[in-house]
């Protein structure tokens, strides 16, 4: 095409090029503005919560305002009323413990479903997912009774088990998708070299799908951290994680907005920082295989 271009066409082409560039820039700008707006809308409630945590109770219910004299009183009060660190430690133990346990069960399951499927594999996968469709309150009483008889009520072990079971379907599904994307030939090559199934999983499958496993793990940690139904219903004081801590500052009678906000900020702070630190890993994992 370029060889047939005459000199006359050159300025026109440049103009066309400029216009295309301009429209591309405009489009990029539009996308950036849209992206920022959506991000700000999503972040606004969190921002407002953080801000409210530094207001007095009276300011928290007054006409919304960005200008006020910040106070640390709420943080002092919530810390004095309930020890934050016990709750935070419980959250760390159950979130990471349940994720480890879930991965330990899910990696072999996803391996067998991805590489050694039977005619029932699809059905099994769907059935696993269907357990997520049941409202948790539907199984509260049976689980409560089982936990009572096994002495698991208000224990970290009990909560870890429930979180593991809660996240297992999602973890298996995600890992299954990641494993499916791996060419089977690589595993076959390993098998030809005499690798056992365990070696195949540990030395081939896991290193090759590490971004996927990492992002699955991160998602499971976040889901466990934020879970509130089971943590409120199966714990009292010894094993209560952060959602129970937040719930203790919520009230339909009395004004506790500022304290509730301070407690919530403290509860989400660790996972927010964790999320920021692992953001790259997570995005890489979630888009893993997407461009193939």
């Amino acid at each position: 095409m370029t060889t047939t271009l005459s000199h006359k066409d050159a300025p026109m082409d440049a103009a066309r090029g400029n216009a295309a560039l301009r429209s591309k820039r405009l489009r990029n700008l539009g996308i950036a503005v849209l992206g920022w707006s959506v991000a700000l809308i999503i972040f606004f409630p969190i921002f407002w919560m953080i801000l409210t945590g530094f207001k007095t109770e009276a300011e928290a219910i007054a006409e919304p305002s960005l200008f006020f004299s910040p106070t640390l009183e709420n943080y002092h009060d919530v810390q004095a009323r309930a020890g934050y660190f016990n709750f935070a430690w419980n959250s760390v133990v159950v979130a990471f413990g349940s994720t480890l346990l879930a991965l330990l069960i899910a990696i072999p399951s996803a391996y067998s479903m991805a590489f050694l499927p039977t005619k029932r594999t699809k059905g099994t996968l769907l059935w696993m997912l269907s357990t997520k469709m049941l409202p948790p309150v539907g199984v509260l009483v049976p689980i409560y009774l089982i936990f009572r008889d096994l002495g698991l009520l208000d224990t970290l072990t009990g909560l870890t088990i429930v979180y593991t079971l809660m996240n297992l379907p999602i973890v298996v599904w995600m890992l299954y998708t990641f494993f499916k994307d791996l060419p089977q030939d690589i595993l076959e090559a390993g098998r030809m070299d005499g690798a056992s199934t365990l070696q195949e999983i540990v030395y081939l499958l896991m290193p090759l799908t590490l971004p996927g496993i990492a992002s699955t793990g991160l998602l499971s940690v976040i889901l466990s951290w934020n879970e509130s139904f089971w943590s409120l219903n199966l714990t009292t004081s010894q094993a209560a994680p952060l959602p129970a801590y937040i719930a203790s500052f919520s009230s339909p009678e009395g004004l506790f907005w500022a304290k509730l906000s301070a407690a919530s900020t403290m509860a989400i702070a660790p996972i927010l920082v964790f999320g920021w630190l692992t953001q790259k890993q997570m995005v890489r994992g979630l888009t893993f295989g997407a461009v193939k």
Binding site: V93, G97, L100, L153, T157, L232, Q238, A247, E253, G254
Partner: protein
């Protein structure tokens, strides 16, 4: 390798069990709600523990509805997770009847059970035996802005009527200056809008059920009361009234956006505190308004401490609940936090105190309202249930909330009052049929 993998899990399991068994033998776990009075009780833990070195207190503080669900699960399954439960006057008789609560028939003379307000005591008894000790009690009353009343040349009656309230609301309603003529609960829920609407229906001469448990929700009295409520709030209420509960109205009133508000007496202390309320110096009190009958025109609610029969620390728990509801406790709070912060509505002796009457000018209204609210005789025509603003049967939580949602949709104009009450009637009939109350 597998052993290595399992190690963290074993450690986790060990951690869990250690945490569970670390508790001392006489630790009592107290489930309670988050409000000012309970926060004060929690802050006095060290005083109790010093006086009773063999007992340690462990607190579980939760939002009211979460706590109710949490404790119901535990007590119904005999889970034994709590030694002391904070329950309302709705649960107390129902749970007592099922044998879920320890009867408190061995109160020592020094506890002075006769000093407890009679209506409150009745509300927490089953077959004349107390099954929970009242920590604080509330009724409902009217709050109003003295300055606005004066400007408009209105004088508050000794016993206002709803007709008067409507005409005053019309005069005081000033949306341009962001002052609503009247604020009332609109948020659906058996403990939210229905607590108020039930008292309104009572005073308009209606009732929830007739003596044979047939619902009467689409009766003439209900129609009148609910139409009055819907019109009043739509004409002179704040914007978005259907999402306002106690907290929202408290916030509105304390920042000066309501001329009148009818709600819980427990708001008085907060509205009277200049640090929390802009209108503290202009705050007026009056009894809850009435219409056709004074019966049931204001509610009765108490938060009480009870011991589930599944507790294995019954004696220690009894020691604690006796302490937390004693005359000495009231004095202790008065000394430490001031008289306006003592738990109201439980003991005659609190109201006999001159200091209390001096420092809390609303005290007289509160105690009168509580004394007059009779949960056994709350409607003009006789009814088969216990409760002023609720019906003391297990089905009421769901009935009340369902009817509350229908009334809220009438308030927002999605359906007419008549339609809302007709569907509420049908839904309640179905629930009552299924539960075997009616055929």
């Amino acid at each position: 390798m597998q052993r290595h993998r399992l190690f963290p899990l074993a450690a986790l399991a060990a951690l869990g069990t250690t945490a569970a068994t670390a508790a001392q033998a006489e630790t009592i776990t107290i489930g309670t709600v988050n409000n000012n009075d309970m926060v004060i009780m929690q802050s006095l833990t060290d005083v109790f523990e010093k006086a009773h070195p063999d007992i340690t207190l462990d607190w579980v503080v939760l939002e009211e509805n979460v706590l109710r669900q949490r404790m119901t699960t535990d007590i119904a399954t005999q889970g034994g997770q709590f030694d002391v439960m904070t329950i309302g006057s709705y649960e107390a008789p129902i749970w007592a009847e099922r044998g879920w609560l320890e009867p408190l028939d061995d109160l020592p003379e020094s506890y002075k059970a006769d000093d407890l307000l009679k209506t409150v005591r009745d509300g927490l008894s089953h077959e004349d035996t107390l099954h929970a000790l009242p920590f604080y009690a509330e009724s409902s009353m009217m709050y109003y802005r003295k300055d606005l009343f004066e400007q408009a040349g209105i004088e508050m009656s000794e016993q206002p009527t709803w007709e008067e309230v409507r005409s005053w609301a019309g005069k005081l309603h000033d949306p341009e200056n962001e002052v609503a003529g009247i604020c009332l609960r609109g948020k659906p829920g058996w403990g939210e809008n229905m607590a108020f609407v039930s008292t309104l229906v009572n005073t308009f001469g209606g009732r929830w059920f007739d003596m044979d448990w047939n619902p009467e929700i689409n009766s003439k009295e209900w129609q009148e009361a609910v139409s009055f409520y819907v019109n009043l709030l739509n004409d002179y209420g704040p914007a978005g009234a259907s999402s306002n509960g106690f907290n929202e109205n408290l916030a509105l009133f304390s920042r000066g956006s309501c001329a009148m508000w009818v709600d819980a007496t427990s708001a008085a202390g907060k509205l009277f505190d200049p640090e929390e309320s802009k209108v503290a110096d202009q705050l007026g009190f009056a009894p809850a308004p009435i219409a056709d009958t004074p019966k049931g025109s204001h509610w009765l609610w108490s938060w009480a401490l009870a011991i589930p029969s599944s507790s294995d620390s019954t004696e220690a728990a009894k020691t604690f609940i006796r302490w937390a509801t004693s005359q000495e406790y009231v004095k202790l709070v008065a000394e430490r936090e001031g008289w306006t912060n003592v738990p109201p509505g439980t003991r005659e002796s609190t109201y006999a105190s001159e200091r209390y009457q001096e420092e809390a000018p609303f005290a007289g209204f509160v105690v009168d309202a509580i004394r007059e609210a009779d949960p056994l005789d709350s409607t003009q025509e006789p009814n088969p249930y216990v409760g002023v603003q609720f019906v003391g049967i297990p089905q009421f939580q769901s009935i009340g909330t369902q009817v509350g949602q229908m009334i809220a949709s009438a308030l927002t104009g999605q359906v007419s009052v008549e339609q809302a009450l007709d569907s509420a009637q049908r839904a309640t009939e179905r629930t009552m049929e299924r539960s075997g109350y009616i055929e």
